[in-house]
């Protein structure tokens, strides 16, 4: 490395008054070969000319991330999808059961339990020490959304599993006493699961929000609505795919409502003021969430129109809704990961907040001294 690159650019530091230090970070200027923005070229005596290079936006330690990126891998966003799908499917199955729609009830019960089993696998497999999964049950800790979620899942699972088992009972066993008891218990079991299902669908938003990850923490008001909307849309999608057309009316209506809530809440995240929003509106997370929006919108429109009559349209629309939910979860997850890898997402908002507070204090001190 020769010094030539350093001689012709503004090399003194960013930041007020104080010189320099490793500053800036190249990662959001776009383009493949990114250059850092340098600060004004200012000597200690102020005599040097100002360069045309834009002032550095923030300081950092060699552009290193301040935070640790989440150690969670694809299994966690996948769980966000399966957990939401399971919860909303269970809720749909209870409604279907109570209003005499056996096909939709069966779809919801079996789909909900299958998604729950997938969720359990994903959650345990993502642990650093999977064989210690039961340590989650040592404590009940209200301050930890993961602990709260564990207990919600524990309360939710038996009902969901029992209802699904009753659905899947082979015909030969249905007549037996245990078989009849199980089938009788299916309805209350499903209802008991449905009590906890809204918690299963929504706690994951708090799980992500109560972290230092800027993109997740910043969107803590919108995320629950994105997640419950997404859950409802995916379960409705499953209902549209599997249940007979004449029973799937509620699924189609739920698809429309869920999709609307998800898309509106998701758009509200994108419109949040402040730099952190860029984690959602740029790059890979943006593409994932755009894809989600198109799929969800398309699925919902299908549900309201063609899916009433055409079996094929219902299946295609349902699959689109489920895919939209998957993309949404991965998009939100990726936005968070991205926001930890770039120190700008940590330093810039915090520096602005700190400077604003200092200004306020100075003003208050000035007022006090005038009196």
């Amino acid at each position: 490395m020769s010094g030539d690159g350093t001689t012709d650019e503004g090399r003194t530091a960013p930041g007020d008054g104080a010189g320099g230090g490793p500053a800036g970070n190249p990662s959001h200027n776009g383009g493949k070969h990114r250059r850092r923005k340098y600060g004004r070229n200012r000597g200690d005596d102020g005599s040097r000319e100002e360069s045309m290079v834009p002032r550095a936006e923030f300081q950092s330690y060699y552009g290193r991330p301040v935070l640790k990126p989440p150690v969670w891998e694809w299994k966690i966003p996948a769980y966000l999808f399966t957990g939401g799908l399971s919860a909303a499917s269970t809720m749909l199955s209870v409604g279907a059961d109570l209003t005499g729609r056996p096909g939709l009830a069966r779809t919801g019960r079996v789909g909900g339990a299958a998604a729950l089993a997938a969720s359990m696998y994903l959650l345990v497999a993502d642990l650093g020490r999977p064989f210690r999964f039961h340590h989650m049950m040592r404590v009940a800790k209200p301050s930890s959304p993961m602990s709260v979620g564990t207990w919600i899942l524990i309360a939710y699972s038996p009902g969901s599993m029992l209802a699904a088992t009753a659905e899947l009972l082979p015909a030969s066993l249905r007549g037996t006493l245990p078989g009849r008891l199980l089938r009788f218990a299916a309805r209350p079991a499903g209802m008991s699961a449905a009590v906890f299902a809204p918690g299963v669908a929504s706690y994951t938003a708090v799980l992500l929000a109560q972290t230092a990850v800027p993109a997740w923490n910043d969107a803590h008001r919108e995320l629950p609505f994105v997640f419950t909307g997404s859950a409802a849309a995916s379960a409705a999608g499953l209902g549209m795919v599997c249940a007979p057309l004449e029973e799937a009316g509620p699924a189609r209506r739920l698809a429309a409502i869920g999709a609307a809530v998800e898309i509106v809440a998701s758009r509200m995240i994108d419109r949040r003021p402040g730099f952190v929003t860029t984690a959602y509106t740029t790059g890979h997370p943006h593409h994932l969430r755009k894809a989600s929006e198109y799929l969800t919108l398309g699925g919902a429109l299908t549900a309201l129109t063609l899916a009433r009559r055409s079996r094929v349209a219902a299946a295609v629309g349902g699959l689109a809704l489920m895919a939209g939910s998957v993309f949404q979860r991965f998009g939100v997850f990726e936005a968070g990961v991205h926001s930890t890898k770039d120190p700008a997402y940590v330093v810039k908002p915090q520096r602005e907040r700190l400077d604003a507070r200092k200004r306020e204090e100075a003003e208050r001190a000035a007022e006090a001294s005038q009196e």
């Binding site: 490395m1 190249p26 290193r64 409604g95 279907a96 729609r101 404590v139 930890s144 739920l254 520096r351």
Partner: protein
């Protein structure tokens, strides 16, 4: 019960709040970076005492910092920052001497670009080799003349877990592996941790991390074993300039205030305390610092906030969303009954 206090705001006695009765005073670190000489004795002492495994021996191209950052297997990290400005009234004695500019900016740029290519954005740099583009045929600063001569100062700072009053990692730990000790510090019980990784994302300082080969989360314990035996932590014991000072937090805070006043009096106006204020976003740090530049220059977040501060609002929004979901799931069954 002071439930309001347990998530956010000033809290006089974290150990007592965690249920310890009759406990010793809250212990802490005051790291005075103005006297740090960058010897890394703290890093070595910590590794030795705590048997922390090696986590990559790499040249990172970041001045003399080849540790990179705190992590699962780096519980002390000495940062090196080269700057083109004098320290206080210091005269570097460079007037009319033909010295070249410091290569800080250039190295920073090279390092920052290399970091982007690493798997976790450099958060665990040191655990994997990174091509920094060296060597080159020119010396750093070669080809520059007297006109490029600059002032120069070197900032060094030994970073460590902050043992926050309101610890994000401790709040979110679902197994109870992380706990508040009688000294007010925060420690992971390795026989309990199941490696869920939530603490990694809960920490607003990016301190705690999971060891990939081991699967559990690790961080500084403030030498809990030594504390219980009335000994000071290994890093503080090893520090030759008393840059790392260990003691009851109240005393350290007084001492830090005096040191800050002294430094301001002799013209080091940029000196500032970081993590000293019990009113800050984490209720004050158990390990706090005297810095000579903005916190972010050292890799600290300028204004960290414990994620649980907004816990009430988060659950309220989640509750509203859940209620809407119930209402929607019920509403879709109304009026559709005639189908069957």
């Amino acid at each position: 019960m002071t439930r309001e206090n347990s998530f956010h705001g000033p809290l006089a006695d974290p150990a007592g709040e965690a249920g310890h009765e009759d406990h010793p005073p809250r212990m802490g670190f005051f790291t005075d970076t103005s006297v740090c000489i960058g010897c890394k004795a703290c890093e070595v002492a910590c590794k030795e005492w705590n048997a922390v495994p090696e986590d990559g021996i790499e040249l990172l191209g970041m001045s003399y910092d080849n540790t990179g950052s705190l992590g699962a297997s780096s519980w002390r990290h000495v940062a090196f920052i080269e700057q083109q400005r004098p320290l206080g009234h210091q005269d570097a004695g460079l007037t009319d001497l033909p010295v070249g500019p410091s290569s800080t900016e250039t190295t920073t740029e090279v390092v920052a670009e290399a970091l982007e290519a690493t798997e976790r954005g450099g958060a665990n740099l040191g655990t994997a080799p990174v091509d920094l583009g060296f060597p080159s045929f020119d010396l750093p600063g070669a080809g520059s003349g007297v006109e490029n001569r600059t002032q120069f100062r070197w900032l060094m700072s030994s970073d460590v877990c902050k043992h926050c009053t309101h610890a994000g990692c401790l709040d979110v730990c679902p197994t109870g592996a992380l706990f508040r000790t009688e000294f007010g510090t925060v420690v992971v019980q390795q026989d309990i941790c199941n490696g869920c990784g939530y603490c990694v994302s809960g920490c607003p300082y990016g301190v705690i991390d999971r060891r990939p080969d081991d699967g559990r989360a690790w961080k500084c314990t403030m030498c809990y074993d030594r504390l219980r035996a009335d000994m000071e932590p290994a890093c503080a014991k090893a520090c030759p300039t008393d840059s790392i000072q260990f003691g009851p937090l109240d005393e350290l805070r007084e001492r830090a205030d005096r040191r800050l006043a002294d430094l301001h009096a002799i013209g080091v106006s940029e000196a500032q305390l970081y993590g000293r204020d019990p009113e800050d976003g984490v209720g004050g740090d158990g390990a706090f610092f005297l810095l000579l530049d903005d916190p972010e220059v050292y890799g600290f977040p300028p204004d960290p906030v414990v994620p649980a501060r907004d816990i009430k609002s988060m659950w309220q929004h989640a509750g509203t969303a859940a209620a809407m979901m119930v209402a929607a799931s019920a509403a879709v069954f109304l009026g559709g009954r005639r189908r069957r």
